[in-house]
């Protein structure tokens, strides 16, 4: 195993509720909290868990995708002092890589700690996107693709992109078995979300999520050809935050290592946004990132206890299962359909619901994934807690921006 030049930890994670359709308290006709309120809640949620609060933080970083359009707001680093005065006149930055912005925030913090330019970093991710109707939100989210291809794209651009991937998967393998795997992915997401009070699908009481999804035939006349609504993550407002710290930093903030996770390794990969994927049934950039992170850490998938992966669409979940090497191409759907990724399966995935069940506040998702892994490995997940065995002590996050374009994978273990 190749160690990082310095130990890096994450701790004191916090998630706001993922707000949007599905939550009982969500009313699109009423005034709702804005980006500011979400940042304040998540930021203060982190800072109150550490000794010294904001005074202990050396720098801050925010992952956000499209506040400039959803909230008409740029220059986001300037919001950190709004969270706490103790962050004013200190370094802060914001990063953007579409739905991968959250993990870019994490990586930025990790690099600062590795570079010894900071001992304690406040890493956050946030997006408030229920400010516009879905049909206009689709325009904004389409900026995660190459704008020169927008004209030929679907009205719901990203569902259209992943519908094409699903269509290619159906044609190459078997539509029926693929849809069974996709429906099971949805059912798992709902089952897990019902255990996390912050999840967008926490209030979901449908008696048969699997049947609901499987029986809902995709209808290209009103949506996209190969995905139904259950195959897609919803529009979400949320923010997440976590502390990234060195050993010294952990001491400063009074966090015991056993209440933190150690970053064992990470990999970041991008794919050319101006080129179409060479093979629609493969997430090549995700696959490359996974290979790199396993190579750099010397670990293998057999040692991973749980994965938080980027299921913006069920088909993305299936394809990432294949990219992880858990199933051969075309068999990821069977692997999921057999229950292997359920919370009591061989490798539990997205244990608080993932993007489909917990929610997908685009620029915030990467940080939310890290918070979930921190919760699971340190036993802080409440009802959603899974068993972490000594044989498989590691956790993993995979965050994707765009259609397999900006990818980060991080491997964690409980601090010791």
């Amino acid at each position: 195993m190749k160690n990082l030049r310095r130990k890096v930890y994450m701790a004191a994670g916090y998630n706001t509720i993922s707000m949007g359709t599905g939550r009982k308290e969500f009313n699109p006709k009423k005034e709702r909290p804005g980006l500011e309120e979400y940042l304040i809640e998540a930021g203060q949620g982190v800072l109150t868990q550490i000794d010294g609060g904001a005074k202990s933080v050396d720098e801050s970083v925010l992952g956000n995708f499209m506040a400039a359009h959803f909230n008409k707001q740029g220059n986001l680093p300037g919001f950190f002092p709004m969270i706490d005065k103790g962050l004013e006149y200190k370094p802060a930055t914001s990063v953007e890589g579409a739905c991968g912005s959250g993990s870019l925030s994490l990586v930025s913090g990790i690099k600062s700690v590795l570079a010894e330019s900071a001992e304690v970093v406040l890493s956050m991710g946030a997006e408030v996107q229920n400010t516009v109707k879905a049909i206009y939100g689709a325009d904004i989210l389409a900026y995660a693709g190459w704008f020169k291809k927008r004209k030929k794209g679907h009205a719901y651009f990203f569902p259209g992109q992943f519908s094409d991937r699903a269509g290619a998967y159906f044609a190459k393998y078997d539509r029926d078995k693929a849809r069974k795997g996709m429906a099971q992915w949805y059912a798992n997401a709902i089952e897990n979300a019902r255990l996390d009070p912050t999840a967008q699908e926490y209030h979901n009481t449908h008696p048969d999520p699997y049947g609901l999804s499987f029986k809902s035939e995709p209808n290209g006349k009103v949506f996209v050809d190969n995905l139904n609504y259950m195959d897609c993550s919803k529009v979400s407002d949320a923010a997440s935050g976590i502390i990234i710290a060195s050993e010294e930093g952990l001491k400063r903030i009074g966090i015991d290592k056993k209440d933190a996770v150690e970053v064992v390794g990470y990999a970041q990969v991008i794919r050319n946004i101006t080129e179409d994927p060479t093979e629609l049934t493969e997430l090549k950039a995700i696959k490359t990132t996974i290979e790199k992170v396993f190579q750099s850490t010397g670990l293998s998938i057999d040692q991973i206890a749980t994965v938080e992966l980027h299921d913006c669409f069920t088909i993305a979940g299936i394809l990432t299962v294949e990219a992880l090497g858990l199933a051969k191409p075309g068999e990821g759907c069977d692997f999921v359909a057999k229950g292997n990724t359920k919370r009591d399966g061989i490798l539990p995935m997205n244990t608080t619901g993932g993007l489909i069940g917990w929610g997908h506040p685009t620029g915030g998702t990467g940080v939310h994934q890290a918070v979930t892994i921190w919760q699971q490995l340190t036993g802080k997940t409440g009802k959603a807690q899974i068993n972490i065995s000594a044989e498989r002590p590691y956790g993993m996050t995979i965050n994707m921006g765009g259609d397999d374009v900006t990818i980060n994978a991080i491997i964690y273990k409980k601090g010791e």
């Binding site: 049909i135 325009d139 679907h154 009205a155």
Partner: protein, 445 residues
Amino acid sequence: MTYDEKLQNVSVLGAAGKMGSGILLLTAVEMTNLSFKPQNKGKTFVINAIDLSDEGLAGIMPYINGQVRKIAEKQTVWLRSVYEDRADLIENSEIIDQYIFDVMNVIRPTTAMEVAYRSGLIFEAVSENPDLKVKILSQIDKNNPNTPWYFTNTSSVPIKLIEEKANLKGRILGFHFYNPPAVQKLVELITTKNTDPIMVDFAYGYAKGIRKIIVPSNDIAGFIGNGHFIRDGLHGINEAKALTAKYTWPEAVYMINKVSQDYLVRPMGIFQLMDYVGVDVMKYILNVMDPYMPDEDLHSDILNRVIELGITGGQLSSGAQKDGFLKYERDQAIAAFDPDTKSYVNFTDFAEKCDDALGKMPDGFMSWKAVIRKKNKDEIFTAFFTNMKAMNSLGAKLGLKYGACSNAIGQKLVADGVAASSDDVNTVMLTGFFHAFGPVNKYFD
């Protein structure tokens, strides 16, 4: 002349009214969609929005704009293909804005009725006054060289009467939308023995284009919808009157409104419905229908008295409910009008007493909102009305009597030849009035 050609130049008379503006919206959208067809490239589609009131016309344009936006937002997948060749339209927002522009660009708001002289199809949605309708249509027909077709939105005036007096010779039919036309699926189609069958075919095609369900009705004043509503309303007024032996008029109105809503599981009580239609409009319809129904007394002294006191109901141009028999706050009824004191009395002053007098609701009660999407409605209603029959409360008695009266009205409409079948009566009440069950049923046998 093809369907598309017939819709190239259309006029809507009374376009600023609540019915006219809906007809304008639906037709302008249909015409715009036709203009996208390859064979219609380069052809101009025009709909004249004609009304006496400049203010009214100015007032409906934001409504039309907002409604077209809603339509475009739901059809963006299709609209992207429509504007496929427009390199300048890339994002959904640009495509939706263009569609709104294209629909608005078809509409010509004007107070000059002369523009209708160029139309091939004319929708009439002026007030429910037979003489006015005849006068306007005669004038247009004398000056229009295109031998146009006339679709009248009358809800009560016999089509034959207009046809004969305006000398239209088979070129008019009744095409009665329900309020609001943009939402309500139902259209009553009324023809005369002279009606040109080609025009009837066109009417069915047009209804399909604007996604409406047609129920044919015979040409008897009031047709099916108002044939039921007017008699149902008069029953409500008479029942309230009977209650005044023991209760005040506002209390009686409250009780009958509650019985007709909750005990019959309707979207609104009868007095609220009369306010929604317009107390004044109801009087217009009564005046039209009464002379044609020699065996019935279609009039109401109380209705006339309330109107004399300036109480009209109906809606403001914003769509908000105006006060009528009842007073409204945010479209919720909160008080009932007392003609003696010429003032509204708050429900809170007497609701508890009246609710006690009506008695407890029968077991199995579900509100209209809760029941309307249920698949096992028949099962729910069978149990509910069976329980109601087993009760001896005032509410149960009034509810059963009301249901039986509605049933009798429905059957009379069939017996009188207004409706071809009880299914047609039920379809009208289910789709035009959003009742949860048709009036012709077995619940009240």
